[in-house]
């Protein structure tokens, strides 16, 4: 059996109501696992772009791709797992930050080139962007202080170079 691994699919879809539901319904019905999904506008207002991370061996990914292609609103699917690509994810982390630890947190934020976007009486909200590795690393570094709330956007990705 091929080994299970994460694939990143860049899926171009019609920008129409219900398209996201069509895609997620298909994943649910066929029992495929979505690791993360990000969807948003593109340079063409009629087209949206989904970046879907899905877990599965090559056979499953082939099925996912073929089944997705059967959705009328899906225009194009590229598996960019093996491509040289730029991957980014944004995370907001609300961390407990009493005055005695603030300096330490600020240092971590600087190391990761993250930003503090809100200062509360006992908490800070930190915004960080990066690939999955960086996001996990900053999360790990902040955990000891006590993470109150955390939200990730899901990964978006783009192939490097001139190809589209």
């Amino acid at each position: 059996m091929a080994k299970a691994n994460k694939h990143t699919l860049a899926v171009t879809v019609e920008n129409k109501p219900g398209v996201l539901t069509r895609v997620t319904t298909l994943f649910r019905r066929r029992g495929y696992n979505i690791e993360s999904l990000a969807v948003g506008a593109t340079e063409d207002p009629n087209i949206s772009r989904m970046t879907i991370e899905v877990d599965g061996d090559d056979k499953i990914i082939e099925q996912v791709t073929k089944q997705l292609y059967k959705l009328i609103d899906v225009i194009k699917i590229v598996d960019i797992t093996e491509e040289r690509s730029v991957d980014r994810e944004l995370v907001l982390i609300k961390v407990r930050a009493d005055t005695n630890v603030r300096a330490e947190i600020v240092q971590i934020v600087e190391i990761f080139r993250a930003r503090i976007v809100d200062i509360g009486r006992t908490t800070l909200i930190i915004e960080a962007t990066g690939d999955a590795g960086k996001i996990s690393a900053i999360e790990d570094s902040l955990r000891p202080f006590g993470i109150v709330e955390l939200v990730r956007t899901g990964k978006i990705a783009m192939v490097r170079g001139t190809t589209k």
């Binding site: 879809v13 019609e14 219900g18 539901t21 069509r22 319904t25 298909l26 019905r29 056979k59 082939e62 099925q63 073929k66 089944q67 292609y69 059967k70 959705l71 009328i72 609103d73 899906v74 225009i75």
Partner: protein
């Protein structure tokens, strides 16, 4: 030209060549029904929306054209769900128009609002909610185009009431080309794979063709026949594929799978090349998948790339229109001399002699159901359109009616919908009034859409219903008998209406048959009916079983019964 949405809808239907729709009115579709009042389109009033859906499906299966139905919002639309799923599972082209509450009420839990586009997402090829009357024409055209092209399937078009009421400037201009970015009609094939397939076919000494519903959908029966006969390759068919190759010919192995013939299953188990054409390796066909065609190289021809490699690994995958692909293969293959595959064909003959389809005599003195099908076959010359319900009646039909032509068997294969057959038969009879149309039914199934008798009577459609009345939910009882120690839990149907009186109450003809010597006369009388449906109530052996069969989970070689 100023037209209302509803009038534009009917105009578009006529552009698509629709002359008949099956429907049921209600509040949300009042504007459409008003437009239908003086339209040339024939509207057939079902007695339940499920009936309208199956009738559109039967119409589509019998003709290859797109079937159309029209229902109201809310309960009208949800009543269609089983019919839509039935069509989806068997890849049947239908377009279902559903009424919807006015646009301003959508999402407000308005009276008779149901989110039918949401509900039907996983059971349609595609669906639409029409938001603007201006979009109606493009959407209707796309809906038909999507329903009938590539792998066909049902499409739902949801029509808010105000969109149907709105008057706009409408120009019935020319037919521009349909262009859907995410949907291309499949043309051509990988010619390298054709060469690979031809090589395998030339080398094979024990080949089998395994034909499914895709052969019928693709109108490729002739090409299949050419391949089979030119190369002397025996043909087995799925339930959906019956009729793709004439069941009365020597090369036919009949159906394969759970209730396939022994010789079909043995042939598949022993073959060195399996050519799957428009079939999808369904679990009812393959049974234990690891033991399916264990010695064979497999060529898989299908329009739907997602079917290839879904259930089994394929040596030569060919994505394309079955018809085109078979033509390409045939063009590269010469005719083989008489006696080609001799040993293989002899082996198969031996299996056919040793394990023919057969049945014991009755253990309770009642008629044997298989005999009824044989008689129906004989008296209709094998040329009728046969619909079936689901259960034993369906399997006996598959065994004993030797379908000669595509589009003559209408049966719910994928979903197994009891209650499908009779309304489908009505749809077929409307489409093909000159054909004899018969629904082979069980006493359980027929009660699921019996209300459609009113339609057949009203429309003067002499559809024949043959109830194989075993006073049981036979197929379930059979499994209880075989695998649950005869604990017949809630499968006794002996409390049932008097089907003769019921037929008569609807204005149909009813005939009860309990003796062998009445069988032929009753069928003949039914066949002679010119404008009235006939219910033939055959009281058959209560505990007759469908054999042979592959117990679930076993391999095709391990069939039980039928000796």
């Amino acid at each position: 030209m100023k037209l209302k949405g509803a009038e534009i809808l009917l105009h578009c239907l006529q552009e698509e060549g629709v002359d008949t729709i099956f429907g049921y009115p209600g509040g949300a579709v009042l504007p459409i029904y008003d437009a239908l009042y003086n339209s040339d389109i024939r509207h057939i009033l079902a007695r339940h929306e499920q009936g309208a859906g199956h009738a559109a499906d039967g119409y589509a299966r019998a003709t290859g054209k797109v079937g159309v139905c029209l229902v109201t919002s809310g309960p009208g639309a949800t009543n269609l769900v089983t019919a839509i799923t039935t069509a989806y599972m068997d890849s049947i082209p239908i377009v279902c128009f559903t009424g919807q509450v006015g646009s301003s009420l959508i999402g407000k839990d308005a009276f008779q609002e149901a989110d039918i586009t949401g509900i039907t997402l996983p059971i349609t090829k595609h669906n639409y909610l029409v938001e603007r009357t201006e979009d109606l024409r493009d959407i209707v055209r796309e809906a038909f185009y999507i329903a009938r092209t590539n792998r066909p399937g049902p499409v739902v078009v949801d029509l808010p009431k105000d969109v149907m009421d709105k008057v706009i400037d409408f120009e019935p201009n020319g037919q521009e080309e349909i262009n859907i970015r995410g949907y291309r009609v499949m043309k051509g094939y990988n010619s390298g794979q054709i060469i690979n397939a031809v090589e395998l076919i030339k080398k094979a000494t024990r080949p089998v063709l395994y034909a499914g519903g895709g052969v019928i959908a693709s109108e490729a029966a002739e090409e299949l026949r050419e391949l089979a006969e030119k190369r002397q390759i025996p043909v087995t068919m799925t339930l959906m594929g019956l009729g793709a190759y004439p069941g009365n010919k020597a090369l036919s192995l009949g159906m394969l799978g759970m209730h396939g013939t022994k010789y079909a299953n043995y042939a598949v188990s022993e073959c060195d090349l399996l050519i799957a054409v428009g079939a999808r390796f369904d679990d009812r066909v393959t049974s234990k998948i690891d033991d399916f065609a264990p010695q064979a190289k497999i060529i898989h021809i299908d329009i739907d790339a997602a079917e290839i490699g879904k259930n089994v690994d394929i040596n030569v995958p060919i994505v394309g229109q079955v018809k085109e692909v078979l033509q390409a293969i045939n063009a590269k293959l010469g005719e083989v001399p008489e006696g080609h595959n001799k040993e293989w064909l002899e082996t198969i003959e031996r299996w056919k002699d040793a394990y023919p389809l057969r049945y014991p005599s009755s253990s309770d003195g009642r008629l044997m159901p298989q005999h009824i099908i044989e008689k129906v076959y004989e008296l209709t010359n094998g040329e009728a359109i046969i619909a079936t319900e689901v259960g034993q009646n369906q399997m006996w039909t598959a065994h004993y009616y030797k379908f000669k032509e595509p589009r003559t068997l209408l049966t719910s294969g994928g979903l197994g919908t009891m209650g499908y057959g009779f309304p489908a038969a009505i749809g077929a009879k409307v489409a093909a009034p000159d054909k004899v149309v018969i629904d082979i039914a069980g006493d359980g199934s027929i009660q699921m859409n019996i209300q459609e008798l009113a339609v057949a009577v009203e429309q003067k459609l002499p559809v024949i219903i043959c109830i194989l009345n075993n006073h049981f939910l036979g197929m379930v009882r059979q499994w209880q008998g075989l695998f649950y120690e005869k604990r017949y839990s809630y499968t006794d149907m002996s409390h049932q209406p008097d089907f003769i009186k019921l037929a008569e109450a609807y204005g149909a003809i009813g005939i009860r048959v309990t003796e062998y010597d009445e069988v032929e006369a009753a069928i003949k009388k039914a066949l002679a009916s010119k404008d009235k449906p006939v219910v033939l109530d055959f009281w058959v052996a209560k505990e007759a079983d469908v054999f042979p069969m592959v117990p679930s989970g076993a391999s095709l070689m391990n069939m039980i019964g039928g000796d």
